[in-house]
């Protein structure tokens, strides 16, 4: 179990915190940190490990959220089934996007992913009958574990922690397994990887599919936790950015990075909102100005993210499977 000590500490801390912390606000923050962390880790599978920088991942998140909402509200079935269905649909859509934009690299791929998520946004916000159009779908509270109506935030922490650990395990698999190395080769130089017999196309599509399914699962849990699905939010470019930013801040292509990034970003966001929100409603944007500037500074001076920065300062003794 070399190299996973920080992650074990992180997840154990998150899992044990609800036993100590009673404060609803702190538990709420923890749930969000874990959801955004898991979503960022899911994004990282495609964006960090496979090098497929997507700014349309909200498409998958939205599919998961709508899956849970439709199963729960329209068909009165369990949102767990909705989560599974959403993840499945997201995988199919991921397959489609991955297959269609396989040739595209760099900015072309980014633009294609934005376009796909915008198509879903327009479709969801205009389909009035079944999806309630732009009004969105409220997800009512139905008590019980099977219906995911859980008032106790501690239980929520453990549920999303499960998903977060799943996302981490996928990332660890990519760091340790042959396929992960192949994917890294594709990311660094696709032509060279192809010439060495790495099935680059298939690996890229597979990475997008896995990433899509995990992102959709995050969306489904998010919808149940928040209780409202708004198409203009769940399919927005802003939301896609949130996943990408947490991963970039934490460290592209590192297993724990997205979680650290999400923890940092969410905490700073909450703090700055508290600081500036009180002065005037218009000033809530200040934290996003800082955010934007921080991103510019960050990719310039510490493009490896938090994890990369720490590794540079305190290099580990030789351990296999370290990401760039």
């Amino acid at each position: 179990m070399r190299g996973v000590t920080p992650a074990v500490i992180f997840f154990a801390g998150a899992g044990l915190a609800p036993l100590v912390v009673q404060d609803a606000f702190l538990l709420d923050s923890l749930v969000f940190i874990l959801i955004w962390g898991a979503a960022a880790a899911a994004w990282n599978v495609a964006g960090g490990y496979a090098g497929q920088i997507s700014l349309g991942h909200s498409a998958f998140f939205g599919l998961g959220a709508y899956g849970a909402a439709i199963f729960g509200v329209r068909w009165e079935l369990s949102p767990w089934l909705g989560l599974a269905a959403g993840a499945l649909v997201a995988m199919v859509v991921g397959l489609l996007i991955g297959y269609l934009s396989n040739r595209l690299r760099g900015p072309y791929f980014v633009l294609a992913t934005i376009a796909f998520s915008q198509v879903l946004l327009v479709a969801a916000s205009r389909w009035r009958g079944f999806l309630s159009g732009g009004e969105g779908i409220p997800v009512p509270f139905r008590p019980g574990f099977w219906t995911l109506g859980i008032a106790d935030k501690r239980v929520w922490v453990w549920i999303v922690l499960g998903l977060a650990i799943l996302a981490y395990v996928v990332a660890m698999y990519l760091e340790r397994a042959r396929r992960g190395y192949q994917l890294a080769a594709v990311r660094e130089d696709e032509d060279a990887a192809l010439s060495l017999g790495v099935p680059a196309r298939r690996l890229k599509v597979a990475a997008i599919c896995v990433s899509a399914a995990l992102t959709a699962a995050c969306g489904a849990l998010w919808a149940q936790y928040v209780g409202f699905v708004d198409p203009f939010y769940v399919f927005s470019v802003d939301l896609s950015l949130r996943f990408a930013l947490a991963a970039v801040v934490g460290g592209l292509g590192t297993a724990l990075g997205p979680f650290l990034g999400a923890a940092l970003v969410t905490t700073v966001e909450t703090f700055l909102r508290g600081q500036f929100g009180g002065i005037g409603a218009g000033l809530v944007g200040i934290y996003l100005i800082i955010y934007g500037c921080a991103l510019i500074v960050m990719v310039r001076w510490a493009p490896q993210g938090l994890v990369g920065w720490v590794r540079e300062r305190w290099p580990r003794r030789a351990v296999a499977g370290t990401a760039p």
Binding site: I53, L55, L100, S101, R103, L104, R105, G106, P107, Y108, F109, V110, L111, A112, I114, A115, F116, Q118, V119, V122, A123, R126, V237, L241, A244, L245, V248, L252, A281, G282, L283, V284, G285, I286, L288, I289, Y291, G292, C293, A294, L295, I296, M298, V299, R300, P303
Partner: protein, 293 residues
């Protein structure tokens, strides 16, 4: 059939504005190899510039339009120095996230300064209707069309005949070779960025009297510009203009046939089709998408 002349004129009026936005984007890409994800935010700031000058100083938006060009060139130059210069030669990821960061920051500067409320710039002559071949339009649309065509033409002339334009084209073709020929590429990038930003800023000023102004107003226009730029072939200015007209036609005729609420889907599907079938666009170099250039 009586609607056809109106639709054609609408296409031209809309297409000219789209072309001005797209030309700046494609120029920046062609020379600097950077997709500017903050392009829409510069457009939005142009709209606010017009609105602010009108609301506070009672400036007519077309006075602001003339003043905005030097202001925007300066803004462009400054933003190049501070933000873009260090990352011109960086990887795609760094470039994408830098311009995205710039976009987030600018959008929220607008949010803090003017709140999220939609603002309307209504001049006295707003309701004046002009008739062209039986098609009716308001003055703001006609002026925006004329000014866009003039600016776009001026930019083409600048690129074609001026020495600076020639140098910019040389840099677009081969940055190493042009540096070896003694071209100050850093200065070329600064000029390119400033000119591209000035185009989109001017477009914003022209759009302000027609569309509501709010902090995320840029997104809808810049999405169209991305479609136009890719359809025309990234970096190809003439291609971008033609593609802008094509998209305007798709939007106008599509809205007429299937209704306005699904018009975005039309050009997004067109975009995806282009990316899948021929990512190099109508006039781009084949295989450009494979190297991400």
């Amino acid at each position: 059939m009586h609607a056809i002349p109106q639709l054609i004129v609408s296409t031209l009026l809309l297409g000219a504005i789209y072309a001005l936005i797209a030309v700046g984007l494609t120029l920046i890409f062609g020379v600097m190899r950077v997709v500017n994800f903050a392009h829409g935010e510069f457009l939005m700031l142009g709209m606010y510039l017009a609105f602010g000058a009108w609301a506070l100083l009672n400036f007519d938006p077309y006075v602001t339009f003339v003043l905005s060009l030097p202001i925007y060139l300066a803004v462009g130059w400054a933003s190049y120095r501070v933000v873009m210069r260090p990352i011109v030669h960086a990887s795609h990821n760094v470039q994408v996230f830098t311009t995205v960061g710039l976009s987030i920051a600018l959008q929220n500067v607008a949010l803090v300064l003017w709140t999220a409320d939609a603002r309307f710039l209504r001049t006295d002559y707003y309701a004046v209707v002009v008739r062209i071949f039986g098609a009716a339009f308001n003055v703001a649309q006609i002026v925006a069309f004329g000014a866009s065509v003039a600016l776009t033409a001026a930019l083409f002339a600048f690129m074609r005949w001026s020495y600076t334009g020639k140098v910019m084209r040389a840099t677009a073709q081969d940055r190493q070779a042009s540096a070896l020929m003694g071209i100050d590429t850093d200065r070329v990038y600064a000029i390119t960025w400033a000119v591209g930003i000035a185009c989109v800023g001017a477009a914003g000023v022209l759009l302000a009297p027609i569309y509501p102004v709010y902090p995320t107003a840029g997104l809808q226009f810049v999405l169209i510009a991305y479609v136009a730029v890719v359809l025309g072939g990234l970096g190809n200015m003439a291609g971008a203009v033609i593609a802008a007209l094509v998209i305007a036609a798709v939007e106008v005729f599509g809205s007429y046939v299937i209704g306005t609420s699904w018009k975005e889907v039309l050009y997004l599907l067109l975009f995806i089709t282009v990316l899948v079938v021929r990512p190099a666009g109508l006039f781009g170099q084949r295989g450009a998408e494979m190297v991400g250039m």
